[in-house]
Symmetry: D3
Subunit: 235 residues, 6 copies
């Protein structure tokens, strides 16, 4: 295991990050071609939070949160801590004291492929967390992991400095190098969606807006009048 | 695979549906003999919604939401869209645009054995959804499924036109033909429960109200005074 | 199977219980050496409840809630009902009528390694429940289990009369005999945490407060300046 | 709950069943349009069994195997018992005594959405079982279910008398009415597959055999020479 | 956490253990009233092993196998090591070197609520293991747990010195004090089963052997002639 | 989504790969510092296979196996196909025809974060597969993915050309650049293990071989004579 902490990483610019935060997970996920999403078991501890920031990556070991302390020192204001674990483990790696410390260093939130505790306090503090579990089980500080190296978190590869977006729909990673391009695509998408939304709200059908009927027929969709016809059709 | 869309289905009458909605899932489930319940992994995206309507059934394929567009055209006001998938899949088949379209056609809500996204928007719109997952992962439109044919959704067989009831306790299917009879049984049950509730609230014991003591004794329940007796009893 | 109901059990004193309730699950869990926690699939049906009380233990069989009725008669005001099941089962063992009955006997809440229903009513009543599932599926009354004997609930051994603490972080068992000692340790811990919290809130690092740097170095943590160094370091 | 046992059901003819058995699950599943498959958690208790027969359907309740006794009397030689449960439950509903009884009545095997025990004896007897779990936990005989009515088993709707095929790949249901037609399609498919197999074994590519290249290009697949080109392509 | 290793524990006598081993898990589970079974996710790493012995209990922490080394010194020939973990964790706590060591000390096998590795070597050595996972992930030796204290393993409470039985059906705990009584009940059960088995093998029905018909009728089972009657019966 | 197929990738040399194959997953996993392991849900379809080769990476979409055809053309003899899916999906992406094709191109085996079918044929062919499920459910060919780009498979990041090792213990990735170094470390480890194995087989304790006693005492392990002392110690 590489037991390494990297001091300096590149980050995306603040404007791009702010733009991506405004668009949210579902729109940006579409805009970058449906990649970058963490597995859907990652859920927010309270509803209606939405944040974006630079990934401060942390690799921990099961039942051990030592590296989180190391990571806080290497953070920059606006970072989001992204914690992967060497194996599936749902212990409570993070609680109110660590949240206090994160806040003092302007870390915006936590994404952890593990458990979290003191969720009531975290909710009252308004410190947002996306985790795989809520779990009061505490952890030790015995095994060294890594900070600011590439990790896998909830099925997704994350480089330190990638942009993280998290809201009620889940957590998304946008690679730092493509973030500006993705933002542009997301804004276009939103404009495009707006006109679709209006037409749909007036009752127009997706079948017509997207001109799906010929393709559906070609691929074999058959319209029947009622279930009696269907019963015959089956045989 | 039958790639079929059925235009006309029979539905239960509005009064019966309204009556079942008022009773809610738990009561109606009991009233129809503890059948018809979807598996409990189906959860609402926001609390305190309760709806009932006619099942507009949709069969989709993993990662593909094409048939949902087809279904909207075949809906009637008051329907609930019930989506089963050909295999276990938690992709985000449904989001705010489709919800907008559903609402324009007076579809009351969605029950989907898959994932859903834009949950914050759906919550703000008040469009209720029961799903197995929240997942921003989008879907394609490549493979034809079916609309308004019998499906299995979350372990339950659903015919188009069956009555669907959904609330905080889960999702229940009532067969169209028996809906009126089930409603009557449910109303009786509620009346009966009311008197039980009052007696229980006054501190009477279920043991006495339901006259359970003789049966418990017959089946072998033994009362002991304390845990020391239990330690002896074991050996 | 021992089909036994024990009438009299020893309980911890009210003051100790009240003290533990105030401290909450995460703090007490640490104070007693990170033991006693139920598995994290046990979740509250509504947020922000926190209770502590004496365990009124119940052993039920899959799909059968008979013993819950037996248990209510043997309860004392302030008890928390703790229900284990002979096998993994998520049926809805408990609903609004039983909650009404529990309340009439001043049972403070329910912890059940199974399902619960009528959650909207329970929420409105303010009757707190921690369960593994929400499930409208009803149960029968055919098989005798046990009341007030030692059980395993969600991976944790529970003696009748042990102290149960439950809040947003989960459910914790404190053995009756050690409850007073654990309370003292918990209070100490809280005082100690308070000073840590203040220092962390001012921006001091855990690395310094806990003097972790020498130990991290000894165990092999290496600081690198940037990811280029890391790329070299790997080979 | 309908507590009913139906004495006489229609079955597919023996020749059709024998033909489907020979084709196996994967081929027939394709031949009938990729429908009818039970969820993949259904696994054989020993490898290399393959059977087909008429579904003798049984609906049981969690922790209760009473209806299996009722079903044996209503079986015909060559039937396969298909057991669904009213809720998710993995108790050991079936063991060596019941297998002995099934064999005396020429029931060919068991498909059960629950647990099974005495698997070593069953293996030695050569009585094949597909189940969701192996579990020594015994069951009671207290609650009446149903025999030979339509059920849902592992996510699949099954009518009594439908053809069941089971092998190492899982369990498949073929509707009785369409079985002959599906058999014909399956035989065709196998012939067709044979020629494909030979070409593939000689090293021909699926890309060429199925003429996929133009379609891949049309849908946007781009060939790059190496990963350096890919790194540029991304930005 | 009690960080304790207990040197001397009481064990059941060899004859009783040998008798229980011969009966196997399913029979003994019935004989002691359907209690004592570990959760069914515990599976053998190879088929057809059957062992019984005294429980040498071990409590480990996630990702840490230190206590297994401590336990080997405290073992007695014929013991079965039973390992519980402080939280859900599937790391590979045990491999071929530890198996070599166990064998040198005549430990008969391992039951572990965690992962195991080198399973091919263990199979070739004939060292039987029941575990929740096979996992090559290694563990550290940093955190002290306990040996020969009561633990919970896979949902079951285990006292050091209790009798452990393990075979293809799973793992069962028999309390040391009741082992002789349970053995006697098991032998009786087997004799009784033998005569049942013969009658069932001759084709007699369980319905008649156990005289179930009157009870089935009383509880509401209705026989119908065919599915047409059922269709009418439903409405 | 990058819809790209990369023609030429770098591979490790054959000798290194052969050396790693001989060492096996558990040993190499240790030798490279306990990294690189796929999640333990990846299981072989038959026991006692062990292979190593260069990763031919494939990214597929749920229910769609099109890219596997593309990958075969880009393979080199000795490659192992490693398939990741854009979302959790257990459909049967791969069967006997594709195995025939892989064999014709000397692909050594398959690692797939999805399902596989025709497992009996694959076993008879001796074509080894590690998968998350066995599932007869077929797939379509509609959506373009990627070949020979970096992917995440079962929680592990894989670059095309990395060394894959797979056996009964699971699947391991060794980065191409470090493979030679890891092989050397693995061989050393094995030599070292051999002497340990002999000492353990003679009955020496790990406690002594690894000199654990002082450290255990320092970390607080207390030896007690019996459980009576433990009962006192607890209070």
């Amino acid at each position: 295991m590489k037991t390494v902490a990297v001091r300096n990483i590149k980050r995306a610019d603040d404007k791009t990050i702010a733009g991506l935060e405004k668009l949210g997970v579902a729109t940006v996920h579409e805009a970058q071609g449906r990649t970058g999403l963490l597995l859907p078991y990652m859920r927010p501890i309270y509803p209606r939070a939405r944040i974006a920031g630079s990934a401060l990556t942390v690799l921990v070991h099961p039942g051990d949160n030592w590296m989180i302390h190391v990571a806080i020192e290497l953070s920059q204001p606006g970072d989001i801590m992204v914690v992967g674990c060497a194996t599936d483990n749902a212990d409570g790696f993070f609680g109110d004291l660590l949240a206090e410390s994160c806040r003092a260093h302007d870390i915006k939130g936590l994404v952890i492929d593990g458990g979290v505790r003191d969720t009531r306090d975290l909710t009252e503090m308004g410190f947002p967390v996306w985790s795989r579990a809520i779990n009061a089980k505490g952890t030790v500080k015995e095994t060294v992991g890594a900070v600011n190296v590439p990790i896998v978190c909830a099925g997704q590869y994350v480089n330190p400095g990638d942009v993280v977006i998290a809201d009620d729909d889940g957590v998304l990673i946008v690679e730092r190098d493509t973030a500006a391009k993705v933002l542009a695509a997301g804004i276009n998408r939103e404009i495009n969606e707006e006109s679709k939304r209006e037409r749909l709200a007036r009752g127009e059908l997706g079948l017509d807006i997207y001109n799906m009927r010929p393709q559906l027929e070609k691929k074999g969709l058959v319209y029947l009048d009622n279930l009696d016809e269907y019963a015959k059709y089956e045989k």
